[in-house]
Symmetry: C2
Subunit: 241 residues, 2 copies
């Protein structure tokens, strides 16, 4: 059954969502745009949207195969997916297995230090406030989610982490940290949405600790497309085997 | 029994601790020094140490009377207390009943908005990192405290909040927010330490919302001593009645 792309309903920094003629199903398109540091650094990098779409599809399908429900329905074209329409919870759930980024800068952790059990963090999705870190009390006071939902987010994010750590390890990479976003389906169920790509994960080569993810763009640590291609090719070798 | 003051063992921004000839008991002296914004703003304000010592003693005694254990043993002199020696947990526990400070600036809450149930926050005590906000996962990964201890800190801080809100309300003030620090006694018990003063609480007049606490110094909102004196006198009228 062919799906028809209808009007654009939301455009963010890295993705566009379109309505379709299928009720409850959207098209999620990955853009070639790269931004960092609250939009201060910006570039259009040809091929990024394609690679992100490929990687996100692989990972969402793999999670589904392992019983971890998510919004991915099917590929739509080279850089777009069909996804379930969710009412997004405006919180980013970050899981950290190795110290990097704000854990080093803000909290003084030693760069590269293994963290076990992993750290889970919540950030408020609010551009004008620069996505501040929040705790459960803040989220509840803001009326965004209750304790049961937050329990569910933590438990689900840690399950996704277990699965992804295993997948990336098989693919000779370390999953340093990553960000997830959840939403509610029409029946009220909490479902994983958004994307899982090198834009939203820190991924290091398992042997050399070389950065393969968007930190290449953020900190001029090498060609972004080359890193994303390595990630995609390595994943392709393991997720269907 | 007289207690002898021995050597200084710690001097902070607002207090000095001395060893005494009584095993496990220290002298806690309140300084006249006022600092704000990570030490950028600084002044010596005569009478502040005295008023803080009076206010902290009143409040710690009142908490004890209500069954909430803490480190206060007795007055030592006009601006010093005898306190139990604790091994401090390097975390600040903040409770918020009304939006002000970082809740407004960092998280976009409307100034003065009532928050019910109250918000509890943990901050890492680390000058060089400017006391960053942390969640339970960070505290556990840093090896500072386990979940049971953090549960205890939250429960105890909320009990202290209930008591203090009632006391300040009777004394015609609103307890906007405040900071507590806990430590472990020799038997391992978690005990409330540090101070409860207008340096560590936001207190507003119940009718006018006028600031009576250290925000007078931080934001040049009026004479600090005058505010602290109002707080002390109002408390005196209610804590023994």
């Amino acid at each position: 059954m062919e799906v028809k792309k209808l009007e654009k309903i939301y455009e963010g920094k890295a993705k566009i969502y379109y309505r379709t003629d299928r009720d409850g199903v959207l098209i999620q398109e990955f853009k070639d745009h790269a931004t960092a540091f609250d939009g201060e650094k910006f570039a259009v990098i040809e091929g990024k949207g394609y690679l992100n779409a490929r990687i996100s599809a692989l990972l969402f399908r793999e999670l589904k195969r392992r019983g971890l429900e998510n919004h991915y329905v099917d590929d739509y074209d080279d850089k777009s997916h069909l996804v379930l329409e969710l009412k997004m919870i405006p919180v980013e759930v970050v899981v950290r297995n190795i110290a990097a980024g704000s854990l080093v800068k803000r909290l003084g952790f030693e760069m590269g230090k293994a963290i076990s059990p992993p750290i889970v963090e919540f950030y408020l999705k609010a551009d004008e406030l620069h996505d501040p870190i929040v705790n459960r009390y803040h989220i509840k006071a803001l009326g965004i989610a209750d304790d049961d939902t937050l329990d569910e987010l933590e438990v689900e994010a840690l399950k996704v982490n277990d699965a992804l750590v295993e997948v990336f390890n098989k693919a000779s990479m370390k999953l340093v940290d990553f960000k997830l976003e959840y939403g509610r389906a029409r029946d009220g169920c909490v479902i994983l949405g958004d994307e899982i790509t090198p834009d939203t994960c820190r991924l290091w080569d398992r042997e050399t600790d070389n950065t393969l993810d968007k930190d290449r763009f953020r900190f001029d640590k090498g060609d972004l497309i080359e890193g994303y291609r390595v990630i995609y090719e390595r994943l392709l070798r393991v997720v269907y085997s």
